[in-house]
C-alpha cells in the first residue's frame, strides 16, 4: 500500500503544508502584529487613546474572525485570483490563510501586550520616552515570551486551517487526507496524514514553549 509513489506524494504534501503554514504565518504577522499593537496603543487606557479608531478596528477584527474559515476560503476567491492569478494550489491557499489568521494574530498580540505592567510603561514615560519608544523598547521586549507563545499557537492554528484548504484543492497534507480518505475511502493514508499533522503540531508547539522559556528573564 505504501509504495514509493504514495511516499513521494506524502513527502510533497508535508513540504507543501509546511510551506503554506510558515509563509502564511509570516505574512499574517506582517499585518497582525501592527494591528495588535495599534489595538493596545489606541485603547482607552493605552498610551495613545483613540477610541473611535480602536472601536472600528475591533469591529473589523471580530467580523473577520466570526466567518468560518471554510466559508472565508470560498468568499475570498476573487481576491485570491486577483493576487495570485489562480485559485488552486498552495500559493492560492496562502491568501485566505493570511486573511483569516491576521485578525486572530492581532488578538493574540493584543493580549500579550496587555500583560505588560502599566507601571513599567509609566516609568518609561516619566523618563521622556515617546509613544514609539514605549512600543519598541518596552511593550514588545517585555512581552517577548508571551509573544513567542502566541506565535506557537498561531502557527499551529494556521496549520490546521491549511489542512481545510484540501476541500478547494489547496494542496498539502489536508488535500491528501480528503482526496484519499474522504473521496476514495483509503482510511490508512488519511490516518498517516493525520499522524504527520499531529507530529508537526507537537514539534512546533514544543519549540515555541522552549523558545519562550529561554527568552524569559522573569524566572
Amino acid at each position: 500500500m505504501f509504495d514509493p509513489d504514495v511516499l513521494t506524494m506524502l513527502g510533497r504534501g508535508l513540504m507543501e503544508s509546511l510551506y503554506m503554514t510558515l509563509v502564511s504565518t509570516a505574512l499574517a504577522y506582517l499585518f497582525g502584529l501592527p494591528l495588535g499593537i495599534t489595538m493596545v496603543v489606541t485603547d482607552k487606557e493605552g498610551i495613545y487613546p483613540r477610541e473611535t479608531l480602536n472601536w472600528i478596528l475591533g469591529l473589523v477584527i471580530n467580523l473577520l474572525r466570526s466567518v468560518p474559515f471554510l466559508i472565508l476560503l470560498v468568499m475570498v476567491i476573487p481576491i485570491t485570483r486577483a493576487i495570485v492569478g489562480t485559485t488552486i494550489g498552495t500559493n492560492a491557499t496562502i491568501v485566505p490563510l493570511v486573511i483569516a489568521a491576521a485578525p486572530f494574530i492581532a488578538r493574540l498580540v493584543e493580549s500579550s501586550l496587555k500583560e505588560v505592567d502599566k507601571g513599567v510603561i509609566e516609568a518609561a514615560q516619566s523618563m521622556g520616552a515617546s509613544s514609539m519608544q514605549v512600543i519598541t523598547k518596552v511593550l514588545l521586549p517585555e512581552a517577548r515570551p508571551s509573544l513567542i507563545m502566541g506565535g506557537a499557537i498561531a502557527v499551529t492554528t494556521i496549520l490546521s486551517y491549511s489542512a481545510m484548504a484540501g476541500f478547494v484543492a489547496g494542496g498539502g497534507l489536508g488535500d491528501i487526507a480528503i482526496r484519499y480518505g474522504y473521496h476514495r475511502y483509503q482510511t490508512d493514508i488519511m490516518l498517516v496524514t493525520v499522524a504527520l499533522l499531529v507530529i508537526i503540531v507537537q514539534v512546533l508547539q514544543e519549540l515555541g514553549m522552549k523558545l519562550a522559556r529561554i527568552g524569559d528573564k522573569r524566572k
Binding site: S126, A129, K217
Partner: protein, 338 residues
C-alpha cells in the same frame, strides 16, 4: 535654603477625573513651592490625591486647571517633544520599582540614556558609575527577578539618576519595603541629595519617612493642601486636624479613656531628657497616668510628646498644667479625640 528659587512651583492646580459615575476632583486649588536642593515631603492618607499630585509635576497627568512651573518653565506651554526632553531632568521612582523584567540591571540603568539618545558606550560607563554609587556593582549583570526589594529600588534610583536630573520624585518609594530596608533607601536618598544636590520630592503615607529625611512637608487631605511647613514645626505644633491625625495617630484610642482631663506636653530641644513628669509627681504628691509617650529625633534634635491624664481634682490639675508651662513646655489640654 530659603533664599533659593523654587525649582517647582505649582499654582492653583486642580485635577478632575471624569468617570462613568460623574466627575471626581482628585486635587483642588493646590499651591506649592518646592525649593532647589531641599527634600520635600508630601504626606496624606491613601486616596488624598498625593499620587496624582506628583504625576502633575512631570505631566504624566495633565492638570485640569492651574499651572506647573519647572525651573521657571510653564509645562503647559511645552510641545510634546519639549516635554519629553524636560522629563529627562525629572527622575522618578515608584512603590513597585517598575524595572524592565527582561533587561538586566545594567540594561535597566542604561534605558533612560537610550531614550535620550546617548551613545551606547558612554551610557554603559555612566550606568556602571551609578551602580557603584548605589552599591550594586556586583549585581550589574543580574536580572530584576533575582534581586530583593531593596536592591530593586536601588536599581530604580540609579536608573532615575542616569540622565542627571535636577529633581527626583519618589512615589511611595519605600512603602513596599521592610523597616530596615526603608531606612537604608532613605539614607541613600539623603546621601544623593547632599552629594549631588538633587531636589527630592517624597510622596508617602508614613510619618516616619518624613521625620527621617524631609526638610519641609506638605500635608494633603481630601484633595487639598492642609498645611505646609518645616517638619519640626508641623511635628510639634500641628495646626489642622489633618496634620494632627497624621502626627498623633494614637489619639484615636483616647476616646475610651476614663477621667476627663488629659493634657499633651510637647518637648522641644533641651527639656527632652529632664525627668519633668517624675519631678512634678514628687512635688505635688499626686500621681498622673501616662497615656502615651513618644520621642523622636528630627534633624539631630530631640523632639517628643507625652500625653498624661491629670488627677480628678480640678484645682490640682490646673496647677499641674501651670507647673509644666513654667518649665517652658508647650502644654495643651486634649479632650478625647482631637
Amino acid at each position: 535654603m530659603n533664599e533659593e528659587h523654587p525649582i517647582i512651583k505649582i499654582e492653583a492646580l486642580g485635577k478632575i477625573f471624569s468617570g462613568s459615575d460623574g466627575d471626581f476632583a482628585a486635587l483642588e486649588d493646590i499651591n506649592l513651592e518646592i525649593r532647589s536642593g531641599e527634600i520635600f515631603g508630601i504626606i496624606g492618607m491613601s486616596g488624598a490625591g498625593k499620587s496624582t499630585l506628583v504625576r502633575c509635576i512631570n505631566f504624566l497627568e495633565r492638570p485640569t486647571v492651574g499651572t506647573v512651573y519647572f525651573d521657571g518653565q510653564n509645562l503647559s506651554d511645552l510641545t510634546k517633544r519639549e516635554l519629553y526632553h524636560i522629563r529627562q531632568s525629572i527622575g522618578m521612582i515608584f512603590q513597585q520599582f517598575n524595572l524592565l523584567m527582561q533587561r538586566n540591571v545594567l540594561g535597566n540603568v542604561c534605558f533612560p540614556l537610550e531614550i535620550a539618545g546617548v551613545d551606547k558606550k558612554e551610557a554603559v560607563e555612566k550606568a556602571k558609575k551609578l551602580l557603584s554609587l548605589v552599591g550594586l556593582t556586583d549585581k550589574t549583570y543580574s536580572y530584576p527577578s533575582q534581586l530583593s526589594g531593596g536592591q530593586k529600588q536601588r536599581v530604580a534610583i540609579a536608573r532615575a539618576l542616569a540622565t542627571n536630573p535636577k529633581v527626583l520624585l519618589c512615589d511611595e518609594a519605600t512603602s513596599a519595603l521592610d523597616p530596615a530596608t526603608t531606612r537604608d533607601v532613605l539614607m541613600l536618598l539623603k546621601d544623593i541629595n547632599k552629594r549631588l544636590g538633587i531636589t527630592i520630592v517624597i510622596i508617602t503615607h508614613e510619618m516616619r519617612v518624613i521625620e527621617e529625611i524631609c526638610n519641609r512637608v506638605a500635608i494633603i487631605d481630601s484633595s487639598r493642601i492642609a498645611e505646609v511647613g518645616r517638619v519640626e514645626n508641623i511635628f510639634t505644633r500641628p495646626k489642622t486636624s489633618a496634620a494632627r491625625r497624621l502626627v498623633f495617630p494614637e489619639d484615636r484610642s483616647m476616646e475610651n479613656l476614663p477621667g476627663k482631663r488629659c493634657c499633651r506636653i510637647v518637648f522641644d530641644g533641651n527639656s527632652s531628657f529632664e525627668p519633668v513628669i517624675a519631678g512634678m509627681v514628687l512635688d505635688f504628691r499626686q500621681t498622673v497616668n501616662i497615656l502615651f509617650a513618644d520621642t523622636k529625633n528630627i534633624d539631630g534634635k530631640a523632639f517628643g510628646q507625652i500625653v498624661i491624664q491629670l488627677p480628678d481634682n480640678e484645682l490640682t490639675a490646673d496647677r499641674m498644667m501651670e507647673y509644666l508651662r513654667a518649665k517652658n513646655l508647650t502644654v495643651e489640654e486634649v479632650d478625647g479625640y482631637v
